[in-house]
């Protein structure tokens, strides 16, 4: 479905948190006053130069921003088409883009006088980033993580514990990201006075999708400038992986009104879209309401949410940020699925071609780049967000390659 093209794709959400019909605030009454407070606090912080300056300083000296824009010369030659650039957010402190959002939100939490941080995590990248900023600012953090994910992401589990966070495995449901998010919401409802819920992706009730996007937009803002400096022009295509979609919206948003830039969001196709073993909410789901927002969801005919599946724990969320749902329906962004197998191949391709071990999440984006680049001219440019590094995934990859480490 395509709806009327707006004058700008960068003005959303409206004051009630809607991107077209998507987004909104579908939460229990106990949480409504809290998210209204949060919205007011965020609006005030955005206008405060001192807040902005503190965040910029941390981005520079703690995270290591700006992250480099890297021309992948050998990969470009191997694929034989468009020039491929990576925005290297995997070089950030903590190893992924998640820190961009966590710093912004923990500064906000402290402005609001909150003394306890809770979060959900899937692959553990967000959990590690939360544990990191909580340690940096001396706040206690409780991280909810599905019991299944705790098992398959042991390195990150250990890192969170080293950093001093309390990790609470969630056994409800299938014990993955959506169940962790349910449990974090239940904690928040129970501890409304002192607790700040630090959501890791551009989803949830308004203002989270807009706020997380704003913090992640540093990726796209930097990349746009770097590309103009390096090539004197904008790229022809952007590619990023989409689970909840925070790294993708961060890269895409500053380019949404650049009409000549084609934009691709890559979803986790798991074992393929013909079955239910995937996590492609946009290309394999339909609109519904979960975790505070209306968005595309994996669900059955009765409106029961289906667990997503992906080789990548960071992508197997059955929903997606509401702004992506809107960009999908307006046709501004093209969303495509990539299977586990294709992502594994891309993981190995990048490792050997460039000496970079990517996380399995951006390996999905790379699999699409590998399909796209050969169809484009050598004078064209693809910019991909390399949003996380693959250290956490070496055990998973070894298992799938039949190796014992």
């Amino acid at each position: 479905m395509t709806i009327a093209t707006p004058n700008s794709f960068r003005t959303g959400p409206d004051e009630r948190g809607h991107f077209g019909i998507f987004g909104g605030r579908f939460v229990a009454e106990t949480l409504m006053p809290l998210i209204l407070d949060l919205e007011a606090a965020y609006e005030a912080a955005k206008r405060d130069p001192a807040y902005r300056a503190q965040l910029d300083d941390l981005n520079t000296h703690y995270t290591g921003r700006p992250s480099p824009l890297y021309f992948a010369e050998r990969l470009t030659a191997q694929l034989g088409g468009a020039k491929i650039y990576f925005k290297r957010d995997e070089l950030n402190h903590t190893g992924s883009h998640k820190i961009n959002n966590c710093l912004g939100q923990i500064l906000l939490a402290m402005r609001m006088g909150k003394t306890r941080i809770i979060a959900e995590t899937g692959a553990g990248q967000h959990g590690v980033a939360v544990a990191t900023v909580a340690a940096r600012f001396g706040l206690p953090a409780v991280v909810y993580m599905g019991a299944t994910d705790v098992e398959r992401q042991k390195p990150n589990v250990f890192r969170m514990r080293l950093l001093g966070a309390e990790l609470r495995p969630v056994t409800a449901g299938n014990g993955t990201l959506k169940d962790a998010m349910n449990e974090a919401l239940r904690d928040w409802v129970t501890n409304v006075n002192d607790t700040y819920y630090l959501i890791g992706t551009a989803a949830g009730p308004h203002p989270y999708p807009a706020m997380v996007r704003d913090f992640q937009s540093v990726i796209g803002i930097e990349a746009r400038e770097q590309m103009l400096t390096r090539e004197g022009r904008l790229p022809d295509a952007l590619v990023a992986c989409v689970g909840g979609g925070s790294n993708a919206i961060g890269l895409f948003h500053p380019f949404l009104d650049d009409k000549d830039v084609k934009i691709y969001g890559v979803e986790a196709g798991g074992h393929g879209l013909e079955g239910i073993e995937h996590a492609a909410s946009l290309t394999g789901g339909r609109p519904g309401v979960l975790h505070g927002n209306r968005t595309y969801l994996l669900q059955d005919d009765d409106g029961q949410i289906i667990e997503g599946h992906s080789i990548s724990a960071g992508l197997d969320y059955p929903g997606v940020g509401p702004e992506h749902s809107w960009l999908h329906e307006t046709g501004r962004v093209t969303y495509v699925p990539v299977t586990d197998k294709e992502a594994l191949d891309a993981f190995q391709l990048l490792t050997r071609a460039e000496g970079i071990i990517p996380a399995l999440e951006p390996a999905h984006a790379l699999a699409h780049v590998a399909k796209l680049a050969p169809t484009m001219g050598k004078d064209e440019i693809i910019l991909m967000n390399l949003c996380g590094r693959g250290d956490k995934d070496v055990f998973t990859v070894a298992k799938h390659l039949g190796m014992d480490i």
């Binding site: 579908f26 939460v27 919401l185």
Partner: protein, 280 residues
């Protein structure tokens, strides 16, 4: 428009006692047992019934109702079957109000208009949709009221006086006061605070106020019933179902009676509530 809920609270006022509002998840642990429980509850002393529409992700529920919802879904419960259960119940009981309670997504996927029409036709009287705040009234609340259903909303300890009018606008039937900040079936309410909260809400509305979340015993039902027009019990009842199941998780010969016995006990609690202060 007077509904069964309005009539029931009117009758309770005449009797001078609070009502007992009981909750079960439709289809827990299976359709037939759940229907038998539903049919037996009014006779055991339930004045109003809340029938949960199971959802895979019940974000405001504690473990008891989460598990009840899971049991029902595992038993094959769907929205179509939940509405069929209401229809079956209504054949044998034309007076006990029945409120459908749940989360928005299964309704949204069923189709809002179709849901309202089918719920009314089946004999449901009201709706509680946990994740539809007043900000989303045009979605379901206003069309449901227009069609003749009561729309009941939760007010909570975080709903301050500034927000209370918005929460109370557009609703009918009764106000469901959530007595704790938390999920269902966990902490017990502080009865002193509950009394103040009920008084506060009544300063803003003429609707009856029912109080729930954390009420487990007849004694708690009695104490809360001193101030509230209704006492809601859910987790304790679904825990009774859970405790009665056979080792494989199926209904046993004592499942229905486990619920009716607890309902009888709770009903005694609410019936003692006003007698203590207003001896007839």
């Amino acid at each position: 428009m007077s509904t069964r809920i309005d009539q029931r609270f009117g009758d309770l006022r005449k009797e001078g006692r609070p009502g007992l509002v009981t909750f079960i998840s439709a289809g827990d642990p299976d359709y037939d047992t759940s229907l038998a429980i539903l049919r037996a509850m009014p006779g055991a002393g339930a004045d109003i019934i809340e029938l949960g529409m199971p959802f895979s992700d019940p974000m405001a529920e504690g473990p008891p109702i989460q598990r009840a919802s899971e049991r029902a879904l595992r038993g094959g419960q769907t929205m179509v079957k939940t509405l069929a259960m209401v229809r079956e119940f209504r054949k044998g009981d034309t007076t006990t109000p029945l409120v459908l309670m749940g989360y928005y997504n299964p309704i949204y996927i069923y189709g809002n208009e179709r849901f309202i029409a089918d719920a009314l036709a089946a004999g449901a009287d009201g709706l509680i949709v946990v994740d539809l705040p007043p900000e989303a009234d045009e979605e379901l609340c206003l069309p449901a009221i227009k069609a003749g259903l009561n729309f009941i909303r939760l007010a909570t300890p975080t709903t301050d006086d500034k927000r209370l009018p918005a929460v109370l606008a557009n609703i009918s039937g009764f106000v469901y006061y959530v007595s704790i900040t938390g999920i269902t079936g966990t902490a017990s309410p502080d009865t002193g605070r509950v009394a103040n909260a009920v008084k506060r809400i009544k300063g803003h509305t003429r609707l009856p106020v029912a109080v729930g979340f954390g009420v487990k015993t007849a004694e708690q039902a009695r104490t809360i019933g001193l101030d509230a027009d209704g006492v809601v019990v859910g987790s304790a009842l679904v825990n009774a179902i859970a405790a009665s199941l056979d080792p494989r998780g199926g209904a046993s010969s004592s499942t229905v009676s486990a619920v009716t016995e607890l309902t009888q006990e709770l009903a005694r609690g609410v019936r003692e509530a006003r007698r203590a202060v207003n001896p007839a």
